[in-house]
């Protein structure tokens, strides 16, 4: 079982969800993060004080998948999130040891979907 963490542009969330739906990946957990990457932040100006913030609003998606779904999931995210410009984001893949569905106490592969 794998655990996928993707950091994407906020306005791409809907597109990514749509692409994931197409490959039957419906379950995920989403949160708001600030990203520090290659993409230069917008310089904010408050009363003439410039704040070159390199912390940009990003959205983080976490998805637990069975191994056979991994590549599809990655592709879907790439498709939904990619604009071809700096700041598109990254995907991080982890091995997951176990997964439990609280409701049914199911474990492992069964619990993921």
């Amino acid at each position: 079982m794998k655990y996928v963490i993707a950091v994407i542009r906020p306005h791409k969330l809907e597109d990514v969800k749509a692409e994931l739906d197409k490959v039957q990946v419906h379950l995920m957990t989403v949160s708001e993060v600030l990203g520090c990457g290659r993409q230069k932040g917008v310089t904010e100006v408050y009363r003439g004080l410039k704040e070159v913030s390199n912390l940009l609003h990003k959205v983080k998606i976490e998805i637990a998948v069975n191994n056979e779904f991994l590549e599809k999931t990655i592709e879907a995210i790439e498709k939904g999130a990619g604009e071809g410009e700096i700041g598109d984001g990254k995907i991080f893949i982890f091995n997951m040891e176990d997964c439990i569905r609280i409701r049914t106490h199911e474990r492992g592969k069964l619990a993921i979907g």
Binding site: R9, H11, E14, E32, L34, V42, T43, E44, V45, Y46, L55, H57
Partner: protein
């Protein structure tokens, strides 16, 4: 001669109308996405600044200066020349105070339109548009309907507090703008309000300010002032409750966005009628404004698919037209000296429809032309990237809220 009671009241009424513009900003601001909240507040506050100056420098003159063809005022009051403390004929308050009260109307009208083009307009284009629109659409319109020499005024059109001049023109302009600008990106047909409590705050204060708007339009303290005051509140209440009920019936739950929209629809509808109808009529006017608004917002707009983002046309335009016509229906001699259709006066009814028609056509045509001009000079819509980033960062280099600070 100056009547100081009237003067005191009009100082208050003017202040009340003034606060409507910043609070309208919150009514609208709560409904957009986080990344655009500041742009809405900015546009509204800038209108307050820019139109105040425009009015002092030449706007008042174009609206209430010596008449040119019944259509526009002359330049005799440029920079308030000749606008002193001596009341105008038939008035009892200092001329400068009348100018100020009218200024607040000139301010709020373009501010209303903001709701139609949020989340995608370029700030420079917006600014130029507002200056041109106020000068070329609002000022003549105010002249025609409110200046004693204006042709619609002379015809006898009733517009107590600006249903035609303000709400119809703003609503129609909004519709045209939303059609020409196109839809927002990434919103489908709409998006969840990022902070509905802000909108409720705005609505509460709009109700409050509207007392000055309508009861102030009597330009003094009289029994008509009290009528306008009572009618304003009653129509707002009727609008709120009736929108809540239809919402409940049609969409299965009563919503707070529905209630505050109903408040505004009721207030808009009663605006032209406030000083001419009885309290019981104002209940019907409030209900009518709400029903028409509801129908446009949740049926017509969906069908046609234009992105009048915050329903300026649906609420102000439609309820405004309903109100202008309803004034011709419900007017009662005992309140404001004129009768309407229910009291057998078909003539007035006709005039009301004519005035509304003029406002619609004038605003629509004028807006198309101004849009084209502005679009050529500065451009009207932001770049895709800027829209996705949000107007706050792209147009103003500021963020509304910090995530971590």
């Amino acid at each position: 001669m100056i009547n100081y009671v009237d003067t005191a009241w009009m100082l208050v009424a003017t202040s009340l109308v003034m606060i409507m513009t910043p609070t309208l900003a919150f009514f609208y601001g709560g409904l957009v996405r986080k990344k655009n909240i500041l742009s809405v507040l900015m546009q509204t506050m800038v209108i307050l600044g820019v139109v105040s100056l425009q009015w002092v420098l030449f706007g008042y003159s174009l609206s209430f200066g010596s008449d040119i063809g019944g259509v526009i005022g002359g330049l005799n009051h440029l920079a308030l020349k000749g606008v002193g403390m001596q009341p105008l004929e038939g008035q009892t308050i200092p001329h400068q105070l009348f100018m100020m009260f009218q200024m607040m109307f000139a301010v709020i009208t373009p501010a209303l339109i903001v709701g139609a083009f949020v989340e995608r307009i370029k700030f420079s284009g917006f600014l130029l548009f507002v200056i041109l629109w106020t000068t070329l659409i609002y000022d003549p319109m105010a002249h025609m309907v409110w200046s004693p020499e204006g042709w619609l005024y002379k015809l006898g059109a009733l517009d107590f507090a600006g249903g035609t001049v303000i709400h119809i023109t703003a609503g129609v302009t909004a519709l045209v703008m939303s059609l020409m600008l196109g839809k927002r990106r990434g919103c489908g047909m709409g998006s969840s309000p990022h902070n509905l409590p802000l909108s409720v705050l705005g609505a509460g204060f709009l109700w409050f300010g509207w007392f000055g708007f309508n009861a102030g339009s009597a330009l003094g303290v009289s029994v008509q002032t009290v009528s306008a005051f009572v009618n304003t509140n009653t129509a707002a209440a009727a609008g709120a409750v009736s929108w809540m009920i239809i919402d409940w019936a049609v969409h299965s739950k009563p919503t707070v966005l529905g209630v505050i929209t109903g408040i505004v629809a009721g207030l808009v509808a009663v605006t032209p009628a406030a000083g001419f109808v009885t309290p019981v009529s104002s209940i019907f006017i409030g209900i009518g404004g709400s029903l028409c608004g509801f129908f446009f917002v949740s049926v017509v707009k969906k069908k046609f698919g234009y992105d009048d983002s915050l329903d300026v046309f649906g609420v102000h335009g439609v309820a405004g037209i309903f109100g202008a016509v309803a004034t011709g229906v419900f007017a009662d001699k005992s309140v404001g000296g004129v009768d309407g259709l229910i009291n057998g006066n078909l003539h007035q009814f006709g005039i009301q429809i004519l005035a509304a028609g003029v406002a619609i056509v004038f605003a629509a045509v004028g807006t198309v032309i101004i849009y084209k001009i502005v679009d050529m000079i500065t451009g009207m819509r932001v770049e895709v990237r800027d829209e996705q980033l949000g107007l706050d960062l792209s147009q103003h280099r500021e963020a509304g809220y910090t995530l971590i600070d």
